[in-house]
């Protein structure tokens, strides 16, 4: 390397002397190549022409390399195998050149002083050439090399020449970059493949020819650029993100439902009845419920603190759920940000995007046709309704009536539940064995039935209102929501009543136990005359007097609720969907009217109802999980089984809902509901944790006044004292108040910031709209400038089949521009092109942008006929805003 460098810097000087004669012919030759004296010379000149445009610093290296390049190309033509080798060579060499360049640049300044070293370097020169050229480089080449070096250095001296070549080089570089970009983005061009291939070939040739000349490793950078751009343009490959992958549940659905079904029908009823009784029996004292857990402070070797972790997990679940829900909502809000004005393009979107090109199945296609037709009909009806003007008073009256009816329903169902719960408390006082199964499970049955009957009732009532279907659906959902929530809360209040009663009861039992214990001890001392080390009473654990353990009772209520909910859901599907489908299908052969198309028809899959059901189910889990940890497991089982079960039902006996309420991911409606449910189910649990005393003889918190005492205890006993101090300070109202204040202020600030962003967003949107309008005006007046329009015209059939002019003409200018130094036009383009990259031509045309549009856009003459015209001639309509009307109109 060192030697090479020396050679470079030296040979410049050296060749300066030698090639004075060559200095003159060169500029002339650049102007007119034809005037070269000899064949060799002219060949050299051809190489020279582009080379001349290069900067002084890169001169020598690039010369050598372009030579190499040229050779490489020749050989490529000869054979592809050799090419590979050659490529390696040239790449290697370009590495070398880079080294040279660096060294050369460093030593360029001190070139003069090194003249005395010339001799040595000449030797190096020979060596370097021999090394660089490898087997292919013969003497002639070497000579040429030297000649070029000399010529390059000669231009060094000429300052005029130098500045010219600087600019030219920059332009060439820019052009090469452009070509490269073209190669990378070629697939995005709306051209015929033939044109694309041709363009690609040309661009590649161009890049190969000149890139080396610019002193870059040709292959690698292009490749890296390409890879990068393709990544940017094409995004991730298949399967890397959710949108691009087939949903997992679709992949393995539809296979395993029949087995499940046969088993289910037979065992169904039996199992659930057994389960419900079982709940009252063994389950009550199992791991499923609160009462099972012990109040021992720590268990086992690892000192697992059960009570503490019970409380922390119970509360942590809420925290985690809240976080997840809110994060999802935030993400959805981000994604759905740019969806422009909804409903602005109802019909056009329906027209142009409703057909899914992926459809390849005749049945799916038929469904799609049907649903498209209905959706169009719906939109038409909407549209006509908008125009209709009818009796608004009647409608208002009807709506008020409907709302009153629904309020009555809600109130009635609430009262019914309260009444039933009260009754069940009375039943509970009686002996368990006297009660029938119905009496035992009255509450759950009534609640499930209400959930079953009320929604259809609401739907009937909402017919009165005559809302737009989408709005009606929202009302319907809101009402069902209110119903469920109301039911749940009445249930809860009734439960709290019960809990309070239980607490009183508990006190009595507690006193009794204490009294019994005292009696036992007294008797013991009386009989055995010992006052200490009295063994605990010898009663088997099953016979100990126990408190009612209200936590377990609450847990049982929730489990019962969940189980009966599962029951009702499954039975509904079985009867309401499957049986109906069977009847409709098979009775249709011998019935007076068409059952399939007529009255019963098949059940619809009610997406929104099912989603609401899931949300409520989740709410129930949140509420009950603290008192019945096993509920979570039950729920997992339920969700898993119901996924397959409902999948089977949907596939086999449902028809698609007539109008789908689109709950896309950007829609936060359901997530909002979920958040609300979470909040509402969080409240009673937290309330009970904070206020109600835990029962004295069961559960992890037994023996404490409050559940959260566990935390206090842990802080006191297990953490170092300074932590206790810290906590006591932290819980000081004096510290909490400022913290709350700070949070409020932060919320206020963030709110203000988001408002500001919103405003600026709106502003930008308006600006975009304005810009678009302006652009449109301009395009109306001169449509030849728009590249996309031109491409579109080019894509007209037969266009590219008229080979001579069309293909040539479009390609030619680019070629000419690329070959000849573009002294004209380009700087201007560079100047204006900076601002608006995409529509350069348009921005160029905007030299007089403020001129008013003197004439309304008006109807256009029919477009060019497919056969003859190749689009309007360039330059047409240039006179926009300059007074006279444009020639075309």
């Amino acid at each position: 390397m060192e030697i090479d460098a020396e050679y470079d810097s030296g040979s410049d000087v050296d060749s300066k002397r030698r090639a004075k004669g060559k200095n003159k012919p060169k500029p002339a030759a650049r102007g007119k190549k034809a005037k070269a004296d000899s064949v060799e010379e002219s060949e050299e000149e051809e190489e020279e022409a582009p080379r001349k445009r290069k900067g002084r610093k890169k001169k020598e290296e690039s010369e050598e390399e372009s030579e190499e390049e040229q050779k490489g190309r020749r050989k490529k033509a000869a054979g592809s195998k050799k090419r590979a080798v050659k490529k390696d060579d040239s790449e290697e060499e370009s590495e070398e050149e880079k080294g040279n360049k660096r060294k050369g640049g460093k030593k360029g300044a001190s070139r003069k002083e090194k003249e005395e070293e010339n001799n040595k370097e000449k030797k190096g020169n020979g060596k370097a050439a021999g090394k660089g050229g490898k087997d292919k480089q013969d003497d002639k080449d070497k000579k040429k090399n030297k000649g070029k070096n000399s010529s390059g250095s000669s231009s060094d001296d000429n300052s005029e020449d130098e500045s010219m070549s600087e600019g030219e080089m920059a332009r060439l570089k820019e052009e090469v970059e452009e070509k490269k970009k073209l190669i990378v983005t070629l697939r995005n061009k709306p051209w015929r493949m033939k044109r694309r291939l041709k363009c690609l070939k040309e661009a590649q040739a161009f890049v190969e020819k000149f890139e080396g000349a610019l002193g870059k490793g040709k292959g690698r950078r292009l490749y890296a650029f390409k890879v990068m751009m393709t990544k940017v343009l094409m995004g991730m490959p298949y399967g890397s993100i959710a949108r691009k992958t087939v949903p997992r549940d679709e992949q393995d659905s539809a296979m395993d439902f029949s087995v499940l079904f046969e088993f289910g029908v037979i065992c169904y009823c039996l199992i659930w009845i057994k389960l419900l009784t079982f709940l009252q029996g063994y389950c009550k004292y199992s791991i499923m419920f609160y009462g099972y857990y012990n109040n021992q402070r720590s268990i086992g070797l690892l000192q697992f603190r059960l009570p503490l972790s019970y409380l922390l997990v119970g509360v942590g679940i809420f925290g985690y759920s809240l976080m997840v829900v809110i994060r999802t909502m935030a993400r959805n809000a981000n994604e759905g940000g740019d969806g422009a004005e909804e409903g602005a393009f109802t019909f056009s979107w329906k027209l142009f995007t409703s057909w899914d090109y992926l459809i390849g199945n005749p049945e799916t296609a038929d469904n799609k046709f049907a649903s498209t037709t209905t959706s169009f009909k719906e939109s038409i009806v909407d549209e006509q309704e908008n125009l209709k003007d009818e009796n608004i008073h009647l409608r208002r009256f009807l709506r008020v009536i409907a709302n009153i009816l629904i309020l009555c329903c809600l109130g009635g169902s609430g009262y019914l539940i309260y009444y039933v719960v009260k009754r069940s408390q009375e039943f509970a006082k009686k002996d368990r064995n006297e009660l029938t199964w119905l009496q035992k499970n009255e509450v759950e049955i009534v609640m499930s039935l209400l959930g079953l009957v009320c929604p259809p009732l609401f739907e009937v009532i909402s017919e009165l209102e005559e809302y737009h279907p989408r709005i009606a659906l929202k009302w319907q959902l809101a009402r069902i929501f209110a119903l469920f929530l109301g039911n749940l809360y009445t249930f809860l209040f009734a439960l709290f009543d019960e809990v309070n009663a239980k607490l009183d009861n508990e006190k009595e039992i507690k006193n009794e136990t204490i009294w019994a214990l005292k009696e036992y001890y007294d008797n013991y001392t009386l009989h055995h005359n010992v006052t200490e080390n009295i063994p605990p009473p010898n009663i088997s654990p099953a016979d100990v007097i126990r408190g009612p353990c209200w936590e377990t009772e609450v847990g049982i209520e929730f489990v019962k609720l969940t189980v009966s909910d599962i029951q009702v859901t499954y039975l509904t599907i079985l009867i309401g969907d499957f049986l109906r489908a069977v009847i409709v299908r098979f009775l249709n052969y011998c019935w007076c009217w068409d059952l399939e198309a007529g009255f019963p028809s098949y059940g619809e899959f009610d997406i929104s109802g099912n989603v609401l059901g899931l949300i409520f189910n989740q709410g129930m889990i949140w509420m009950g999980a603290f008192y019945a940890p096993g509920l979570v497991g039950i729920n997992v089982l339920r969700l898993l089984s119901s996924m397959y079960y409902q999948c089977w039902a949907v596939m086999s006996c449902n028809v698609p809902h007539e109008r789908v309420f689109k709950a896309s991911r950007s829609n936060n409606f359901y997530m909002g509901l979920l958040l609300l449910v979470l909040f509402l189910s969080l409240m009673p649990v937290i309330y009970s944790i904070m206020t109600l005393p835990p029962s004295f003889d069961c559960g992890p918190f037994s023996g404490k006044d409050q559940m959260y005492d566990v935390i206090m205890e842990t802080i006191e006993k297990d953490l170092p004292p300074f932590m206790a101090d810290i906590f006591s300070y932290a819980s000081n109202p004096g510290l909490i108040m400022p913290a709350v204040l700070l949070m409020v202020l932060a919320i206020y600030y963030l709110n203000a910031v988001s408002k500001a962003y919103q405003n600026s967003n709106m502003d930008l949107k308006r600006k975009m709209q304005m810009q678009r309008d302006e652009e449109k005006n301009r395009r109306n007046n001169k449509d030849s400038t728009n590249q996309v329009m031109k491409d579109l015209e080019d894509l007209l059939p037969n266009k590219s089949l008229i080979p001579p002019p069309s293909a040539e003409e479009t390609e030619k200018p680019a070629d000419q521009l690329s070959k000849s130094p573009k002294v004209t036009g380009k700087p201007g383009a560079a100047a204006t092109g900076k601002g608006v990259n995409v529509k350069k031509d348009v921005s160029l045309a905007a030299a007089n942008p403020r001129a008013p549009v003197t004439r309304p856009p008006g109807p256009r003459p029919p477009g060019p006929l497919p056969g003859n015209a190749r689009g309007p001639l360039p330059g047409q309509g240039m006179g926009r805003g300059r007074g006279g009307p444009p020639p075309r109109r």
Binding site: I183, L186, R187, N188, R192, M193, R196, L197, L200, K201, L233, M234, R243, G339, A344, F345, T346, S348, W349, L351, F352, T353, S354, W355, D356, Y357, L358, G360, P362, T364, A365, F369, T372, F376, K377, S379, I380, E383, S664, R772, E775, N780, V788, M789, D791, L792, E793, L795, L796, P797, N798, S800, P857, G858, P859, R860, P862, G863, P864, P866
Partner: protein
Amino acid sequence: MGNKQTIFTDEQLDAYQDCTFFTRKEILRLHGRYHELAPHLVPMDYTNDPDVKVPLALIVNMPELKENPFRNRIVESFSEDGQGNLSFNDFVDMFSVLSEMAPRELKAIYAFKIYDFNVDNYICKEDLEKTLNRLTKEELTPEEVILVCEKAIEEADLDGDNKLSFADFENMISRAPDFLSTFHIRI
């Protein structure tokens, strides 16, 4: 690889790779599909660019297109002669544009061409009517069809010439939430 028949040279494959959204393998598979369409017509050896075209009737019967109400228009707009005869280049072009990776702008251009039934570079009422009738299997009454077309033009036509230019179309389609996911054929 050695004893396999060469369908394309390396350069050809590279070029196709640069010009489409497909990998080598996919291009070879596409050639397989193309060959299947008309085995007696399409040669296996494509190294010297034979000038072969498969007529519309055969292409339209591909399972990917068979159910598509716009199948004829799709094939026609990608064919160079406008009659629906596709050379292999056109064939590759078609599936490249309809592939998942193609950008929205490119898809919009070809969607415009597909819906432009009378090939005048504007989507006028006739085109809309044809589109609608194919979408609904002509189950709407004429009045409804007219209403829908008028509404669609009213919504999307920004320059008030009562037909949709490409600019109008692009403006409309660039906001459509479903366009990218529906204008897409997997092969």
